[in-house]
Subunit: 354 residues, 2 copies
């Protein structure tokens, strides 16, 4: 009995120019182009095995079997892979097989780091390889996008741009600079949540209910061009201004949506206000915030230690996590898997205080 | 030697639909119409005396003589009164006289309550009466607007709408419901400021630098219509939604302006998140925030005590101040002045904690 198996790794990414809202909800065609950096050391490792013995798809996350909506989302994604297999490889039997998906993050769950980006990037690479598809980077990025929009940005390495595109084929991400272009850091301030978090699942779907979304979308390409130039020129001051503005533009849309999406907590503001002041006083650091209370402080390597030290004493900052610029999603040869499993919680720097 | 003297009182107002940005900066013609309620018990009392013995205008605020920019602003305002006097009253000698302006607030300075609205409303009423002008409410409102935009809303009583207008003559405020129409309360949570506040003086001037201002302005009339309907129908749930949305729309513009105007402090978010939760649990309260960290909690009379109790235990809330719906700006007969001076700090309810 033949089986088809592969393992891949991918990192989450932090958007410097945000993706918020879709033109096409089903195909996850974004309302605006976006720009991100992969986060080194944080990884999702995913093994996919298409197996004639299975009667349905199986999903195991962090050692626990997942059913219900989580499994359905992965199954729908695997359907895309099975469909491509039947179209491209006429003789393939994978198109009729179910798969076992085993996935593990080396970063703590509940840390507020979106794992859907690294998750679907790793799944796209592993599932397509297991199925015998030979996809190039752009094709893998498009495939990952179908699972989770921002996952398409975790396929290429380093600093990544997700082009708007006009349809499914043309909307994918590509690297505009490799990880070693600029040693930026993302120092994540993990924030205590005092109140029940607003659900974020439907966020993209409600973006268009804000009277401000159209203006945000219309001006995003200009901010992206500014961020790209600043990034390529390694001009931190220019990058900082546009990164903060773009994050605030997204939250401006969120807080004026129906329902209102107010992800900020008191300490979120404390960190934003503090970092703004630090930058006025010469520290090369700026903030960007995703759909949650945590604050990502983007800074130069020279400023990283100082930023981490200062963040730790801000009340309500639960932990501080540091990541550099990460590489692309990639296949892991079977022989490497044992050693990777052994270092699964040593790949990043996680400090805890009070 | 003849002198011309009058005294007037006015209350500050809290905008339920915000004024932010001008079409004409000089004439303070607003970018959008707005809606407010006057705050009962909080008053500015201002005496104006045009006096042939004076060699220049004199301004005394809370017992201290003010020079420089504060005096210049009041002098420019008095120039408007002098000009109207010379146009309307051909025989007037006031047009050539300087004035002594003495003004006093019965609410603490530094409480973060904008006193320019009550200040210029009281000044408009007192100065025009002292000069012998017989202005109606709309004319007084227009005059007050020239001193401070939102001051035009402190001239009429109760719930007040500032119509957009097309020019100086047509942009003024009028009452849409008297103070006894609905016993709403404004429970002001005064917030500790951890960092130096962003200057707000230039706020209106930079509103247009936000890519979101045009969309806010374009949709403001619709929100105003919703708020007006809810107010006239005494429908608190409908009012709450649009009041919170409109405040968030203004702050969305502020946080995306150049320079960024981030007035919120950690406790500002704590109060906003708390009140949102209380409302979900049935308490008739909602929040609105001006150009500062304090949170105005608008609520029904029935909810007021509970709101004040709960606000006092939120960390970072320095004081809680309660106001009802206030009346119009008005002239004070000379014989009443002595008794008013005696109660100048007893007209509102100010609670302090930790």
């Amino acid at each position: 009995m033949t089986t088809f198996k592969a393992t891949a790794q991918a990192s989450p990414n932090i958007a410097l120019i945000k993706y918020w809202g879709n033109r096409d909800q089903e195909l996850r065609l974004p309302a605006n182009p976006s720009l991100s950096m992969n986060l080194a050391g944080l990884t999702t490792t995913t093994t996919v095995e298409f197996d004639p013995a299975l009667k349905q798809d199986v999903l195991i996350l962090g050692g626990s079997e997942i059913k219900g909506k989580g499994l359905e989302r992965v199954s729908r994604f695997l359907d895309q892979v099975r469909r491509q297999t039947s179209e491209v490889l006429k003789t393939s039997e994978v198109s009729h097989l179910f798969a076992r998906v085993e996935s593990r993050n080396n970063f703590p769950s509940g840390a507020g780091l979106a794992s859907s980006a690294s998750g679907f990037a790793a799944l796209a690479v592993a599932a397509s390889a297991a199925a015998g598809l030979d996809l190039n980077e752009a094709e893998l990025s498009r495939l990952a996008r179908l699972g989770s929009g921002s996952a398409c940005r975790s396929v290429p390495g380093g600093f990544v741009e997700w082009t708007l595109g006009s349809d499914d084929r043309s909307s994918y991400a590509y690297s505009i600079a490799s990880a070693d272009h600029w040693d930026l850091r993302d120092i994540v301030a993990l924030i205590d949540v005092e109140h029940k978090a607003v659900g974020s699942t439907e966020g993209h779907a409600v973006a268009a209910t804000s009277p401000l979304q159209a203006a945000r979308v219309a001006t995003a390409p200009e901010r992206l061009a500014q961020a790209r130039s600043a990034l390529l020129a390694r001009d931190f001051a220019a990058l900082a201004d546009v990164v903060e503005l773009d994050s605030l533009m997204m939250h401006a849309v969120m807080i004026t949506s129906a329902p209102v999406l107010m992800y900020w907590q008191p300490s979120t503001i404390a960190v934003m206000q503090a970092v703004r002041q630090w930058r006025l006083n010469g520290l090369a650091a700026c903030t960007t915030i995703d759909a949650g209370p945590n604050v990502h402080v983007i800074c130069t390597a020279a400023a990283a230690d100082e930023v981490a030290l200062r963040l730790r004493v801000i009340p309500g900052v639960r932990r501080v996590l540091t990541a550099g610029v990460g590489g692309p999603a990639q296949l892991i040869p079977d022989t490497h898997l044992r050693s990777i499993a052994g270092v699964k919680s040593a790949g990043y720097n996680l400090d805890t205080h009070h």
